[in-house]
C-alpha cells in the first residue's frame, strides 16, 4: 500500500540502535550519534532519552535513542509497560525527562538541561500533533467547537476561516454530518476520528498516535485505521503505538521494538516481522500471534 515512500534506514543501522537491556544504553546511543553521516539529517532524532517516575524510583525509559526520516511511519511495538506510550508522550513534550534530547527537523526542541530541568521549545512542539488512547475531546464543545478552539484561541485565526477549514476537513473524512454533535453523541470511532481532525487543524508536521484504537469496539477500529492510512498516503510523517499487528505491518516503514525501557530492536518491517534478530522480539511476536499478552 505504502511501499513507494519506504526508505532504507540511514547510517545507523538497526544493529547500532539496539540498546542492551542492561542499562548500558547511553554508551550505545552516543556511539550512534557519532557514526551518523551529516548528509542524512533525520527528521526526528531521539537521543539517550531517560525518564523515570517517583523521583527516579521507577525508571520507564533507560536510554532510548532512534531516528526517523520525513517519509517514515514509525511503529512502536512492545509489551505493556515497556515505555512505548511514555516515549510518545516525551516526543509530544508532555513529560519531563531525566536526560537526553529530541530534535525535529534539526531543531533541538526537547532537552534535559544541565540543571535537570526539561527544556521544551513550544514553537517547535506545536508542529507535533497527538491523539490518545482515551477520548480527549472536550465534552462541553461540539465537534466544530473542538476543532476550532486551538486555531482561534491559540493561533488567533479568524473564526470564519477556521470554521471553513474545519468543515472541509470534516467533509474529507466523512464527518460533516456530526458538525454540531457533542462528543457524547458520537461512537468511539467517530470520537477518535474527530480527535485526529482536531489535531490536523493545527497543520502538524508530525503526528503521534498512542494506541488510538485500543479502547474501541472491534468493528470501529477499521474506520480509524483507514483514516490514519489515508493521512499516511498523503505523506504525513507519524509515530504509532499500536497492538494491532496487521495495521502495524501495513502502515510501518520502520518498526521499533521497545521493552523494559530500551529499544530492543529497530528496523524495516519486513525484516522485523519475518526475521526478528533477538529472542525477545520473537517471543513477543509469537505471543501476539497466540493472542496472549507478554
Amino acid at each position: 500500500m505504502v511501499s513507494g515512500s519506504r526508505q532504507i534506514p540511514a547510517a545507523p543501522g538497526p544493529a547500532s540502535s539496539v540498546a542492551d537491556a542492561g542499562g548500558a544504553g547511553s554508551a550505545g546511543q552516543s556511539a550512534e550519534g557519532e557514526d551518523r553521516l551529516p548528509a542524512t539529517q533525520p527528521f526526528v532524532e531521539i537521543r539517550n532519552l531517560r525518564k523515570s517516575y517517583a523521583r527516579g524510583a521507577i525508571p520507564v525509559l533507560k536510554g532510548v535513542g532512534d531516528t526517523m526520516s520525513k517519509t517514515d511511519r514509525l511503529v512502536i511495538l512492545g509489551p505493556s509497560g515497556g515505555g512505548k506510550s511514555t516515549l510518545l508522550r516525551c516526543v509530544m513534550g508532555l513529560e519531563t525527562i531525566d536526560s537526553g534530547a529530541i530534535t525535529l527537523d534539526g531543531r533541538n526542541y526537547i532537552e534535559c538541561l544541565s540543571n535537570g530541568r526539561t527544556f521544551v521549545d513550544r514553537t517547535v512542539q506545536r508542529q507535533v500533533g497527538m491523539v490518545f488512547q482515551h477520548y480527549t475531546l472536550f465534552p462541553h464543545l461540539t465537534v466544530l467547537g473542538n476543532l476550532i478552539l486551538a486555531p482561534v484561541k491559540r493561533n488567533g485565526e479568524k473564526k470564519g476561516a477556521a470554521i471553513a477549514r474545519a468543515e472541509a476537513l470534516l467533509s474529507r473524512f466523512g464527518l460533516i454530518s456530526k458538525l454540531k454533535s457533542y462528543p457524547s453523541q458520537l461512537s468511539g470511532g467517530q470520537k477518535q476520528r474527530v480527535a485526529i481532525a482536531r489535531a490536523l487543524m493545527l497543520e502538524p508536521k508530525l503526528m503521534l498516535f498512542d494506541e488510538v484504537t485500543s479502547a474501541l469496539d472491534p468493528e470501529l477500529i477499521a474506520e480509524v485505521e483507514s483514516m490514519i492510512s489515508e493521512l499516511a498516503e498523503g505523506g504525513m510523517p507519524m509515530m504509532i503505538v499500536t497492538h494491532d499487528m496487521g495495521f502495524a505491518k501495513n502502515i510501518a516503514t520502520k518498526v521499533l521494538f521497545c521493552a523494559d525501557g530500551v529499544v530492543m530492536e529497530s528496523g524495516d518491517p519486513e525484516t522485523f516481522f519475518a526475521a526478528p534478530k533477538i529472542k525477545r522480539t520473537r517471543d513477543f511476536l509469537a505471543s501476539i500471534l497466540r493472542g496472549t499478552k507478554v
Binding site: M92, G93, L94, R122, Q125, R126, G129, M130, F132, H134, Y135, T136, L137, F138, P139, H140, L149, A150, K153, R154, Y182, P183, S184, Q185, R198, A199, L202
Partner: protein
C-alpha cells in the same frame, strides 16, 4: 388578639413585602455572583500545588463552613468596623458576609468538579498547545462549572434562604418587613405565612431547575 385566619388582611401590606422580597433577591443575586467568581478561584487554590495558597484557602473554607452564618454576619457588622476603624453600613457588611459564605460553599462545589475532570483533558490541552489562560477559560472553567452546576444551584438556594438572617442587622429584606408588619399589626399568622409562601415561591422553582439541569444539560454533554 383576633385569632381567625383572614388572608385578605395582608393585601395592603403586599407592596411593603414585595419591596422586602426585592431586597432579598438583590442581595442574594449579588452575593451569589461574587461568591461564584471567588469560589472558582478558591477552588483552584484548593486543588493547586502551591502550599501557601492551599493552606490559606483551606482555613478560609473550613472557617466559613464551620461557623454559623449569623455569627459571621454579626462579626463583620460589629467587630470588623472597630478593628479596621472604618464605618461599614449594614448593606455592605451583609454583602461581605454572605459573599464570603457563598465563596466557601461554591469553592467546595468547584473543587470536587475540578477533581473530576480527568487528566486526559489536560493531555489534550497540552497536546493542542493551549496557553494556560485559554485552557482555564475555555476548557477547565466551562467543564468545572457544568459539573458543579447542580451543587452550585442548591448552594444558591441555601444562600437565598440564609439571607433572611440579614434582617438581624437591619436590612429591610423580606424577613425584616414581615417581622415589622407582624408585630405592628399583631397578625403574625397571616403575615408570617405570607412571608414563608413568598420565600417558597422563589426557592421551589430554583430546586426544580436543579433537577432539570441535571437531566437535560449534563446528560447531553455526558459530563
Amino acid at each position: 388578639m383576633d385569632l381567625t385566619f383572614s388572608p385578605s388582611f395582608v393585601l395592603p401590606y403586599l407592596p411593603a413585602l414585595l419591596r422586602g422580597l426585592y431586597m432579598t433577591l438583590l442581595l442574594s443575586i449579588l452575593c451569589i455572583s461574587i461568591g461564584l467568581v471567588f469560589g472558582f478561584a478558591v477552588g483552584l487554590m484548593r486543588n493547586g500545588t502551591n502550599r501557601i495558597a492551599y493552606a490559606c484557602s483551606t482555613i478560609f473554607v473550613e472557617f466559613f463552613r464551620g461557623t454559623p452564618v449569623l455569627i459571621q454576619l454579626f462579626w463583620i457588622f460589629f467587630c470588623l468596623p472597630v478593628l479596621l476603624n472604618v464605618e461599614i453600613g449594614p448593606f455592605v457588611s451583609a454583602t461581605i458576609a454572605l459573599s464570603l459564605y457563598m465563596t466557601a460553599l461554591a469553592s467546595e462545589a468547584f473543587r470536587s468538579a475540578l477533581l473530576s475532570i480527568g487528566s486526559e483533558q489536560n493531555d489534550a490541552v497540552l497536546a493542542l498547545g493551549l496557553p494556560r489562560r485559554v485552557s482555564l477559560l475555555h476548557v477547565i472553567l466551562p467543564q468545572a462549572f457544568l459539573r458543579a452546576l447542580p451543587n452550585l444551584l442548591s448552594n444558591s438556594v441555601t444562600l437565598f434562604k440564609e439571607s433572611a438572617l440579614v434582617s438581624a442587622v437591619g436590612i429591610t429584606d423580606l424577613m425584616f418587613q414581615g417581622e415589622i408588619i407582624s408585630s405592628a399589626t399583631a397578625r403574625p399568622i397571616e403575615v408570617l405565612t405570607t412571608v414563608a409562601a413568598m420565600y417558597f415561591a422563589v426557592g421551589f422553582p430554583l430546586t426544580q431547575i436543579v433537577s432539570l439541569v441535571e437531566r437535560r444539560v449534563l446528560r447531553r454533554m455526558a459530563i
